[in-house]
């Protein structure tokens, strides 16, 4: 990959089954477009997302992992998203301490009806990762 412009990031977009996925469905209902290389991965609730599921993709081929779920106070299961925020803070702290580019992990709330916000997140994150370049971890065989 000599030219960064040709670099097409491999992006995992982790979504909760309610607001996160709902945002995706609203975007689709309005035929709002976002880059094809953003791939969704669903969990029931962002509060059900184990830290390993953020770390694994970053080692095994993802250039970026974005996470979207319900807004604080709106979690379908009451308080999952508060703990999700703590877990993301933990993972980011570890990545930051090890200089492994915590910017490759984004945490942003998307409500069920926020189709525009969903595609904006996918598009913005893609642009952001393009600027960062490929994730050096993903081509290491000694991981």
């Amino acid at each position: 990959m000599s030219d960064k412009q040709e670099f097409e990031p491999r992006i995992i977009y982790i979504l909760c089954s309610w607001c996160g996925s709902g945002g995706g469905e609203t975007a689709a209902a309005h035929h709002l477009h976002y880059p094809e290389n953003v791939r969704p991965y669903r969990v029931n609730c962002t509060g059900a997302l184990p830290t390993v599921h953020i770390i694994r993709p970053l080692i095994e081929g993802a250039d970026g992992v974005a996470i979207s779920g319900c807004h604080p106070g709106d979690c379908h299961y009451n308080d999952g998203n508060f703990r999700a925020r703590r877990r993301v803070a933990l993972v980011k702290s570890i990545l930051d301490t090890l200089d492994l580019e915590p910017e490759r992990v984004w945490f942003r709330y998307v409500a069920h009806g926020e189709g525009r916000r969903f595609v904006d997140t996918a598009t913005e994150f893609n642009d952001h990762i393009k600027k960062l370049g490929p994730n050096p971890l993903k081509t290491r065989s000694d991981t």
Binding site: V52, G61, L98, F107
Partner: protein, 390 residues
């Protein structure tokens, strides 16, 4: 509770004073048993004994030169199934006590009938150094600890700033005490009761001890800060990090000996990570090659994400690594940063809720990715400019 202590005469040294005191306590049935490190018969290591016969305290040591087994593991094994009806005193390093407190929050230990007795700690020798020549090692330890010289100790002991009294029931203060004496300091109502039962009046002021501890803590904090800065630079990025872990053989010793890794089967050995050949071939396809056994980095970063909030920086993991990887130093650095994010200190108090269980509604906004509204792809500001220009 830290205002007053008792003075324990120690003309023949700290060790004999403490052992004598414990012998008295055991004989008087203030305790029913002690959990205390004792030199093994072969003379080349130390092991925790659950000791009921005071006569066997001959070769016991409150501050052995090495920590082959993290004391919290012994405490956990003893009290996992409940408090029991007998009173046990565990004589442990401060880091072992802190790990025991973390384990209690995780229901892997019960401290109601267990007295944590700690001592001001100069550190322990790296196990491999000691094993080369145990007798010389013991001597080296005795000499250095006398002068509070941490140079021969475990790397994480060298930068430890939690070497003095944790939330234990009783603490032996050796810093700042008059020549030939040590302080015995109660840290809880049940600690106070023991001192009452032993007829030890709480009439000694602890100002000198506290001052000396504070002085040393400041020195240690600076050492720690510097060491962490240097370490962080050394392991930075994939290259730095993977170089450090490149000799890892996935033996999982670090996880096994770690006191706060309490899982019966570690996630990183579970069926979830044992996948059919296609998975490995696909990954090797993407990376060009895949090392075996795989998932080394996942193990370390993943294990960090599971336990680093309870890590007490004891260093037992580094001692256990057959490949001499500085695991404890790396994890200790990760632990400090992660715990700081949540304002948490592992083992500081039983009342502190675990950071992944508790949460605030209004916190950690720096983690949330801010969103700037776009309007058909344009920033709002651009739009307003357009309107103004029109």
């Amino acid at each position: 509770m830290n205002n007053k202590g008792a003075i324990l005469p120690a003309e023949d040294g700290v060790e004999s004073a403490v052992i004598g005191w414990l012998k008295e306590a055991l004989s008087k049935k203030v305790f029913d048993a002690l959990l205390i490190p004792v030199e093994v018969p072969a003379g080349d290591s130390f092991a925790y004994l659950l000791l009921r016969n005071p006569a066997l305290l001959e070769n016991a040591s409150p501050l052995p030169p090495v920590m082959p087994v993290q004391g919290a593991k012994a405490i956990s094994r003893l009290t996992m199934r409940g408090n029991g009806s007998k009173r046990v005193a565990a004589i442990v390093r401060p880091c072992e006590a802190r790990a025991a407190i973390e384990l209690t929050k995780l229901e892997q230990a019960h401290l109601d009938n267990l007295w944590l007795i700690t001592v001001d700690c100069p550190g322990v020798l790296p196990l491999s150094d000691y094993l080369e020549d145990p007798v010389a090692g013991a001597a080296r330890f005795a000499e250095a600890s006398q002068r509070w010289d941490r140079a021969p100790m475990r790397p994480v002991c060298q930068i430890c700033h939690h070497f003095s009294m944790p939330a234990s029931d009783l603490h032996i203060g050796t810093l700042g005490s008059a020549e030939g004496t040590v302080f015995v300091i109660p840290g809880s109502p049940k600690g106070e009761r023991v001192m009452e039962n032993l007829g030890m009046p709480l009439d000694a002021a602890l100002d000198d001890w506290a001052a000396r501890v504070k002085e040393m803590e400041e020195v240690q904090r600076e050492r720690r800060r510097q060491a962490h800065t240097d370490l962080k630079a050394g392991i930075a990025g994939p290259d730095g990090l993977l170089d450090v872990f490149s000799s890892c053989i996935n033996c999982h010793n670090c996880q096994r000996v770690c006191p706060v890794c309490y899982c019966r089967q570690c996630y990183f050995e579970s069926a979830a990570l044992k996948l059919p050949p296609e998975n490995y071939l696909a990954r090797a396809g993407r990376k060009g090659a895949l090392r075996f056994p795989p998932d080394t980095l996942l193990f370390h970063i993943g294990r960090a994400s599971h336990m680093v909030l309870s890590c007490v920086s004891c260093g037992t993991c580094e001692d256990a690594c057959p490949m001499s990887i500085p695991v404890a130093q790396v994890f200790s650095l990760l632990a400090d940063r992660a715990q700081e994010t949540f304002g948490y200190v592992a083992g500081r108090s039983l009342e502190d809720p675990l950071p992944l269980v508790a949460y605030e509604m209004d916190e950690l906004h720096q983690v949330e990715q801010p969103y700037v509204e776009t309007y058909h792809g344009l920033q709002i500001a651009d739009c307003e400019q357009e309107v103004q220009d029109a």
